[in-house]
Subunit: 283 residues, 6 copies
């Protein structure tokens, strides 16, 4: 069963905006000048490096919104692993429209596949543990819904989508509020019954204080695997344990083996390289 | 004289959209719950690593749109070089609003400073030559105007902003049109008098063919420094020479020393890491 | 401490849209024709019936967006109880603008105060118990964020803000999925670590089945107070207990006394009468 | 002949906004998790109480925008009277999409049918007279066009759609302008030839003064049936007579029997209960 | 008393859109390159030909949205007559912003002043009669509210603002409906009490038929002054008489002298030349 | 090969906005009242005067967005020359929708065809020379992309689309910057490699100074044909020569015969009369 669907109504505004950004006030002057309007083309979206694909619906919409006669037929689904040369989708239709939509389609596809691939890299590295990799709110402005989707496509879990869908008490909140206890009490009083409360701690002493107030989750920031192991022992299943700080494919296994439930990494969404996907003209 | 200005009217829609994306339907439930409304704070935007700052107006608007009482005072200007610990700006105002706006402000600032820093890295590496570094249309959907600005802040030059503001004839255009000559002729007939024409070539033979049609610029794709040197010789100042393919801080000097006018790199805008900038609470 | 804040950036689009809806293509032709432009006025927002006020920021913005010279000075805060004749706010400025903005301001204020007042009615009726009143997704299209806010102003708690911020498995989901067990298992696998899972049950038998899968909350639909009492006993604190169906000021006390944590009612947001608030010209 | 049509282009923005409001940044996480993507369903929109249906096009668009494969087949038209159990429309298509669109479709349908039903209640109560029921500008922000449409579906007439499409001189206008005469003269001078002028009066003395200036319509506010009868006599067909204040199913007949042309009631649009319409899964 | 006001909230979207259209994705590259940021300027908006000014608020907003430090001080009001060399407004502030906003400000001001001037030309030509000049729905897409305002500024009256604010039965409506009688009867049944009904006739026979059904206004299309005189006689004050077809400064007096109430002309809004207004740098 | 294409995605927002502007809050009350919903119609778009057609896609979209059952079949293409009576397109579908969409379709078609026709008039007048006619940024706010397209349809060339896609140094820039040399130097330093630089000169002396700095194009403002001839001689092919000022069908030939490359005229887009195109009902 797919956990990945986004209805077109959620995708379409972003794709329309990207096309208008690229078409500007005169449209694709190169293709209009150089390509005869009746010319048809068949092209393939092809992986140029290993990774995981994400964003096929964005690419499909980009071509369709440029010209409804263009048909994109997926050969793979979002979340599929890619090897160099893999055919991701076939595209047929007027050559002009395919050339016009190419860059926007690839910009979405490369960006989201890059995030999915980075996520998959960590997910694979910790697959032998019970931990999962998750993202943060450190996303590219305007694309959070899409980047969170790409994390899911890469086998990751989603964290908060915004400031409004869970309470996450960070160090500055605690400092300004005047301590873990008062912050937790205020959060508890304010939270709706379907809103979970997470609190960030930097030390085991803070952890003990936090645990006394029964949070749903605890963010263990920048701890060594050894300290994490002790933290997990103290939490004892009473809250979800999330580790953050310096998560990458090398560090992730040891962190995950500490017994935490989650590893979170901002760079998945803000600094992942695009995945190199190209568009090959077949005839 | 600054070449970097973007009027707020160009920035504001992106910042508003990012704030609404983060505030969702309930706003900042954590700060609302935990921080007393009358609490004031003073914080500093501080560089955590070396680089170049870009996006201060985006950060200023993010805080002001959350709460007009928040005042951001820049200590540096976009384009300034950063060392770890450098104070980029001071921010004063209601603590709630500062915490609410923090993530959006940093998401813009980190993303754009990352691009500026990457650009500056190449610009410095080729500073001993006459060449400049430039970007492409491989940008993050919806943020092209901002990312192109960040490239300028990093000392780079801008390429096309969209499909509509210059003609760039690529390999697929040539193939579908039926050759360099017919493509150039059609482009010439269609271009407005302020529209330049650039054409991509992969070999010296293609270069010779292209030169016969008098393009304003030639994109020399994936050539070695030696081939580039020969290409520059053949162009002989009749067109701008732009080199693309595998541009990074290591390869850039040799490429630039070939005598080309421009080095273009898509990764500056699509794959640069964010620059680590933090927000420190002073009291 | 106020739990009620909505930054203006969240409110402004709705107020702008409402003003444009009312101003149409020619503006306020009556006031333009009849009221001299230099005329000033002082008016008061006054309660005409008992209730709770909500939406003052919407009213303030409505007047300010019509004419920045109009000043609204609140005499009460959102959430305050009202008696007939209570002065809610004073407004001063150009008479034309006050007359132009009056209807939009009152439409927001009456609608949101109506919801706050209805919520407060139930909250008061169950104040002797540990239960709270909450709302649903049965909101007026386009105004959910505002109506949820009004529920908070009336002393209520918020339920889900949308399909995306918690999992709520209803009868149709269970039927189509093929049973409580499979639905719960799929939900568990899909939910992020900050996403709670609630499941709806109609009978005690269903409740027992659901409890076996450890949901965070259980929606007990259309049960008598006696059955609710037994349900609460069986839940035994392992999940939040929410009662729904036929909640009003008469039925709420007995339902709340069953020991449930929450009473939810769609009519608070979709069918509450507006609260009668008027605008009195002082001179 | 139908007087009820609204082209989809007028409806679509409101439906898109409502869907995006409900789908948020992650979509329908429950249905995505619990319902297999290939599952099909047949459901019926069914009336749960007597009333009048309005808003079928809003429901149709809601489902179609979620998934174009969903087909809604109306069994009744807007304006039709409903009995409990009446089948309003059949819906077929992917089960996920039907569950995803259900709440938005019902929120529109229930809200607009509630207004149509309330209007029909008054229209029926005064059907033995020549008077008609009409609405006001006291509408829900953002939904005026839809609520006015629902009034028409319930057999009512529409009043002004905004501040711009007719002149309505109210008590405050008269007071600030300095009297009925000066207000009417200024209105007459400003009104376009297709713009009617209505004036509000509270007493028979004001009525006489107003009549001397030849308004197109007179709003008789809060008068007893007896006073209304005398007012109608004095108007003598020279202007449309509209009665407002405390209009409901009990008071309406006596008010209408006074001979007025119109009864206007704000609560039709601002305080009508939603009509209970449900969605039954057939298989 | 001014009948001309449009609140900024009605104007701002059009001005923002025009500025973004002009600024594109890189802003004003010429002024950014050439003008030092600290440079201040004083300029004057000056009439280059006789006419009537309209659109000062559009110009003021254009400059303010580019740079809030720019101050526009009107020397005249919309509707004022202009002679060549007249100073319309003074503008002070940063030179860059003034140069950046100049074109958008002048595009609005010239376009709307052109319409006002054309309208004033007809209004003056018929000032000795009781007739007024009015516009139509033949407006520039997106600017109807502004163009109708310019007609008022030029001394004209407004006709319908859209398809929705009055009934105007044209020849095609009559033909498809099956005659004047049936069309009028259907219109009467559908019209709200504040909606006027106008019907177009081409001959005196059609006029007689129309008059039998009591329309509020009659559009006498393409009749000679003599026929118009007879038509006015037959109407006898029972309806507003509007003449259309070939209205210009030469033909208007004779047409107006026929006794009609209104002359309507589409070209006022769709084909009026811009009025030449320039921006002079004072120092 | 057509150089005229605009993808629907560029056109649709303008057409939607125009339809909503015309439909307002109640839709087409006349057609709804008078025309039975099942009535079908066949109509033709017919030229009433000679000219050039432009905007057929705008008209097609206007009808389709009102009712997807309406089919517009073009008989000509944008850019075609028209004689009175020429059939431009056939339209079939529901009569109501055709009447509802008529005005918006014709407003676009008449406006854009008017611009195309005016452009063609000049283009024909200079066809015996090597010069082309071009437009300016003096366009109707919000419609620049469409008006520039219409210029192309009339055989003209496009100038800058906005402040951002080329550098055009005007007299005020030179004055504020402190001379031609400093302005050119700053522009050269700021311009991207695909951005051309044009400079305006009023005298031959200024021309000589400008030429020394190697601009891509020179705008020769308000010079006589004789002076233009001398200017062209001095330029000697080193830059594009553009003549502006008082360009019309009478003056254009002599100006073009001076040897300039381009004639530019603002009135093509800001003051061209609409072309008279009508909609004839066939049955």
């Amino acid at each position: 069963m797919s956990l990945l669907s986004l209805p077109d109504i959620m995708i379409e505004p972003a794709v329309r905006a990207a096309l208008r950004e690229d078409l500007g006030r005169a449209g694709d002057v190169t293709s209009d000048a150089v390509i005869p309007p009746a010319m048809q083309a068949r092209v393939a979206l092809v992986a140029r490096e290993p990774g995981v694909v994400a964003g096929l619906d964005f690419a499909r919409l980009a071509f369709r919104l440029v010209d409804p006669q263009i048909r994109l037929t997926p050969r793979l689904e979002d979340g599929a692993r890619l090897q160099p040369g893999d055919n991701i989708a076939d595209i047929e239709g007027p050559a002009r429209g395919i050339l016009t939509g190419e860059r926007v389609a690839l910009n979405f596809l490369g960006h989201l596949s890059g995030i999915a691939s980075a996520t998959r890299g960590i997910a694979d590295a910790i697959a032998h543990t019970g931990a999962r990799i998750t993202c943060t709110r450190k996303t590219t402005p305007g694309l959070r819904f899409a980047e969170k989707y790409a994390v899911r496509a890469g086998g990751g879990a989603n964290h908060r989508f915004g400031l409004d869908d869970a309470i996450l008490i960070k160090d500055n909140h605690i400092a300004i509020a005047g301590g873990v206890g008062v912050a937790m009490a205020r959060a508890r009083a304010a939270a709706g019954h379907l809103v979970k409360i997470e609190i960030e701690v930097d030390t085991l002493a803070q952890l003990d204080e936090a645990l006394a107030h029964g949070p749903d989750a605890i963010l263990l920031d920048n701890m060594t695997p050894e300290t994490l192991r002790e933290a997990v022992r103290r939490i004892g299943g009473r809250a979800i344990a999330e580790a953050s700080g310096r998560i990458n494919a090398e560090t992730a296994p040891a962190i995950a083996e500490s017994g935490v439930d989650l590893l979170s990494a901002g760079w998945l969404t803000h600094s992942a390289r695009v995945l190199d996907i190209g568009l090959d003209f077949l005839d």
